[in-house]
Amino acid sequence: MLCENCGKRPATVHYTQIINGVKTEMHLCEVCAKQKGSIEFDAPFSVTNFLAGILEPAFGTQVLKPSFEVALTCKGCGMTFDEFRRAGRFGCAMCYSSFSEKLYPIFRRIHGNTKHVGKIPTKMGEDIAIKREIDRLKIELNVAIKNEEYEKAARIRDKIRELEKKLSRE
């Protein structure tokens, strides 16, 4: 049997992978097998893949659920929720939105509260005001269009664009 990849050298490494319950076999030469990457090469029968392949059709969601828990990871820094729980520290500002739902009970336990009512940074305060103004203008724009007041609508649209430009400059 010749290598499936290069078709030149004889296939000496027989590689089996189970993805989503589908078994794929590959027959490679030593050179191509090494190029495939050491991880795959070292673990041709990956235990997790194997288990997932077997369990998935039988238990469906039950298997998916815990793997979803494991997958709760911050898009910003890669910290998992479990890691956060162990360290008691966030990895970056985005962890807050990534773990958002799970934080309410934690904050309530620590502070008895889940809403900041203190200082608003000046720059951020401007942004918040601009965002609110844009939301208000968008409603006005819809009303103007409905009433077929196109000149007015154009003016409002320009104003929105101007404010959006101001926001993106920050």
């Binding site: 970056c92 904050f107 900041h116 200082k119």
Partner: protein, 328 residues
């Protein structure tokens, strides 16, 4: 009797939104934060800041900064690149890459929490103009630890409570105020015991209350503790005057004549004499001098004062000498 409040301190925890927090930082991130903050701080014309990279400071100098409460032990021993900006009067320090990217701290002697808050707030406003803060409309200032989220504010007082300690009331008081959301710590902060009858009390809740309310709450509880300490002192005087007089004069005598004294012993004696002055028993010296000593007797500061490194034995001799000189 305002001398029960030794110092007032405000601390604000802040982070940048575009750099991982310190737990996830690499060397590049750490230098990036330091460089950007340094550039901004040097732009400030209102205060004059000196800037120090912690790893470039000799160990003894770091210890001096800890003893002066200008940096935390955590910053001094930080594994990642960290720095501190200190204003010329040594009231303000901005720690960089401690638990949070920024820790703005203002510390004054006496009851000056309002002044400390105004300074901290002003510096915060200034930094925020030039740096992208991690802030969320719902959760406020985003901090590394969930216990600081919201205002990122810690308002604290260092209180001298010798009479309450002597009469055994402190445990009860600590139990009560802990339930009111106030934390109690020793002289050097977290985990340290109340050496010299000095207790640091501060707010624990940072989310869901405006800064002014948080400060007002700590002030109100502090005022109640002050009142209790005053009553405890009056009780000591009326019921045990002879005992108190003997205790404070013995302490004064040892401080004034000792030739060899450890920092721990000195701290205990200074505490007694301080109470004695406040009670009107000792008139030979002043609270101000004792507060100077409170700082000077510490192991690193004393070496810094004499401008050279000393063995512990040598320090104990020099410490006694210095105390005698100041009490003269």
């Amino acid at each position: 009797m305002n001398d029960i409040v030794v110092t007032s301190r405000i601390r604000l925890a802040r982070n940048l939104s575009d750099v991982p927090f310190t737990i996830k930082m690499n060397d590049y991130d750490a230098s990036n934060v330091i460089d950007r903050v340094r550039d901004v701080i040097l732009k400030n014309k209102q205060y004059h800041f000196d800037f120090f990279e912690i790893k470039k400071l000799p160990l003894i100098k770091r210890q001096v900064l800890i003893e002066k409460h200008l940096i935390s032990p955590a910053l001094a021993s930080s594994k990642i690149k960290s720095a501190v900006a200190i204003d010329q009067n040594e009231n303000i320090s901005i720690m960089i890459n401690e638990e949070d990217h920024l820790r703005i701290q203002v510390l004054y002697r006496g009851q000056e929490i309002q002044k400390a808050w105004e300074d901290a707030n002003r510096i915060d406003d200034f930094l925020e103009q030039h740096l992208p803060y991690a802030y969320d409309e719902t959760w406020g200032y985003l901090t590394s630890c969930p216990t600081n989220v919201g205002t990122g504010l810690r308002a604290s007082f260092m209180l001298h409570l010798p009479a309450l300690t002597l009469l055994g009331y402190m445990k009860g008081i600590i139990d009560t105020i802990t339930k009111l959301g106030i934390a109690v710590r020793g002289f050097y902060g977290e985990g340290s015991e109340a050496a010299g009858n000095l207790y640091q009390i501060s707010n624990q809740i940072t989310l869901g209350q405006p800064e002014e309310d948080i400060i007002a709450n700590v002030v109100s509880i502090t005022n109640q503790i002050i009142e209790q300490e005053q009553q405890a002192r009056l009780r000591l005087l009326s019921e045990n005057r002879a005992f108190v007089e003997d205790k404070v004069y013995r302490a004064y005598g040892i401080l004034k004549y000792a030739r060899n004294i450890s920092s721990n012993e000195a701290l205990k004696l200074i505490s007694d004499v301080r109470m004695g002055i406040s009670m009107g028993i000792i008139k030979e010296t002043t609270i101000d001098k004792l507060d100077v000593l409170l700082n000077l007797i510490q192991p690193a500061i004393i070496q810094d004062y004499f401008g050279r490194e000393m063995t512990p034995e040598e320090r104990d001799i020099k410490r006694a000498e210095l105390i005698r000189k100041i009490l003269e």
